[in-house]
């Protein structure tokens, strides 16, 4: 008679997985099979890995280094490119997470796209079959040889071996474009930058380059817009969380894009995801924390919270307009938000401080990226706990 037992369920349910010791052992489920009619016990082990897959959609391919770093930092450890591999690899690996850039699934390299007359935004430039196969494989605990798209040369380089991680993040232009890939995602995020902010950010990014001018930056955004609107933008209706970045409403006619209004749009009814709220869940709140207890400098901070509808989905929206200028403002705000999925008081502030030099550290972009990171951690823990408790079937010889 074959008996199978789940071993080390405790380890899976442990809450100490956040320690950032690089030698922390990976959590695995072992299945033992004992055959009592034999002279000895045969122990057969196999490791079943629970890989959680997160999708992040954003323009400019995999330039979301800072968002990724915030996200992976919540899990502990710094995310780094694979050691000893192609220096132009787009992949990031940390203790718990592996971040894959979806540009690696380009079916056409730069020359190929030029010949066919398609931009990188066009689905025709991407191999969704391969994307689906490999994400599916990684999710099932199987390593894959993933191609590398080299952004410097514009060529497809030799593949790199990717081991299945605990958390797989796929980031790029099309994580939610293909329905099969979408179904593999445990959680998805769309970073929605408004046109004005996009323009301001690209100016800040490119103006120092001698090749660029205001005109070239503007022309580039406009030329890409039709493809962006047709292929990338529609994905936001599928996202579980949308981070919308808009110009501030606190300063009239501000066009520098430095003070931002950021909205965190969270879908209701997503498994293992409880939206953040302010004061009273499901109500509508408008909150200016600056006053008698807290003094803020110009232009201050304004929060909004409300239930809403987004592409026929019920959502909750938390919105922050303005900037943090001091540590105590951040802590004050954190103490008034609910359902943050923090493990201790001040965790959001601590995470923000860890990356104080990153862009967005003083406004809603950093705040909501950090909160989304904590939500993903919470989702991961719940998913793992759930799978460990589910009854398992013995595989018979």
């Amino acid at each position: 008679m074959a008996v199978s037992t789940i071993y080390s369920t405790q380890a899976l349910n442990s809450t100490h997985f956040l320690t950032s010791s690089p030698s922390s052992s990976s959590k695995q489920v072992f299945f033992y099979r004992r055959q009592t009619n034999r002279r000895f016990n045969t122990i057969i082990t196999c490791a079943a890995q629970q890989t959680v897959v997160i999708g992040l959609a954003a323009d400019s391919g995999c330039g979301k280094s800072t968002f990724m770093r915030r996200l992976t930092s919540v899990f502990g450890g710094a995310a780094e490119p694979p050691k000893g591999g192609n220096p132009d690899s787009n992949t990031l690996i940390s203790d718990m997470t592996t971040v894959i850039c979806l540009d690696d699934y380009h079916s056409l390299d730069r020359t190929g796209r030029k010949e066919k007359g398609v931009t990188a935004l066009d689905p025709r430039a991407n191999d969704f079959d391969l994307m689906y196969e490999q994400v599916k494989a990684l999710k099932s605990g199987i390593a894959v040889e993933k191609p590398i798209y080299n952004h410097v040369t514009g060529l497809l380089d030799a593949p790199e071996l990717i081991q299945p991680p605990k958390i797989l993040v796929i980031e790029g232009l099309h994580p939610m474009f293909d329905e099969r890939v979408r179904d593999l995602l445990d959680f998805s995020i769309y970073l929605d930058i408004s046109n004005e902010v996009k323009f301001a950010w690209k100016i800040q990014r490119d103006m120092a380059e001698r090749g660029h001018s205001l005109e070239s930056i503007k022309a580039s955004i406009e030329a890409r817009k039709p493809d962006f609107d047709a292929f990338i933008d529609p994905q936001k209706q599928y996202a579980d969380a949308v981070i919308e970045v808009l110009p501030t409403q606190l300063i009239p006619d501000d066009n520098e894009g430095k003070v931002l209004r950021v909205r965190l749009i969270m879908k209701e009814g997503v498994k293992y995801f409880s939206p953040v709220y302010l004061f009273d869940e499901g109500s509508t709140i408008s909150w200016i924390p600056c006053g008698r207890k807290l003094t803020c400098s110009y232009p201050g901070i304004k929060f909004n919270y409300q239930p809403d509808s987004y592409f026929d989905n019920e959502v909750s929206v938390v919105e922050m307009d303005g900037q943090f200028d001091r540590l105590d403002e951040l802590i004050y705000v954190e103490s008034h938000l609910s359902n943050l999925s923090t493990k201790f008081y001040g965790e959001v502030t601590q995470q923000m401080l860890k990356h104080a030099d990153f862009p967005g550290s003083n406004n809603g972009t950093g705040l909501f990226q950090t909160i989304v990171g904590l939500k993903i951690r919470d989702l991961y823990e719940q998913l793992i706990a759930n799978k460990a408790n589910a009854p398992t079937e013995a595989s018979k010889a």
């Binding site: 952004h151 990014r205 580039s220 030329a223 493809d227 540590l327 030099d357």
Partner: protein, 134 residues
């Protein structure tokens, strides 16, 4: 607590990191955050954000040159028809290269990682891995 791998041996004391970066980076957090972040016991050191290896320096220059070339190309191609496929693709290339340039800058500046670090540890004798001297 922050794990910065200082991948370059050169350390400069910059008077005000935010101003030095202002032209090339979105405005970074307030002074309060920065002081909390970079002040170990004693003096305030900031590692200079330049390429450590010759190969990385060459990559930086190449990308900047490519931006010049591709902007020129796109401007010419689009003169004929701004709505043509060729025009779209040309500006898309500009975007791709601009982002690649910015990514390299972020790696060096914010993260103090030279992308050739691990390659050069294994192959210190290659030309790419010569330490870049200003």
């Amino acid at each position: 607590m922050m794990s910065t791998t200082a991948s370059h041996g050169r350390v400069m004391i910059l008077p005000s990191p935010s101003r030095a970066l202002q032209n090339q980076q979105p405005l970074i957090g307030s002074d309060m955050f920065r002081l909390k972040q970079t002040e170990p016991r004693g003096s305030r050191l900031v590692v200079a954000a330049t390429a450590k290896y010759k190969g990385t320096k060459m990559r930086e220059e190449k990308l900047s040159e490519m931006i010049v070339e591709k902007v020129k190309e796109a401007t010419e191609v689009c003169e004929a028809d701004v709505r043509s496929e060729e025009c779209k693709v040309a500006w898309d290339e500009v975007e791709e290269v601009s982002q690649a340039r910015a990514d390299l800058r972020i790696k060096l500046r914010l993260l103090n990682q030279d992308p050739l670090e691990s390659f050069c540890q294994e192959n210190p004798e290659t030309d790419e891995c010569r330490i870049y001297e200003d």
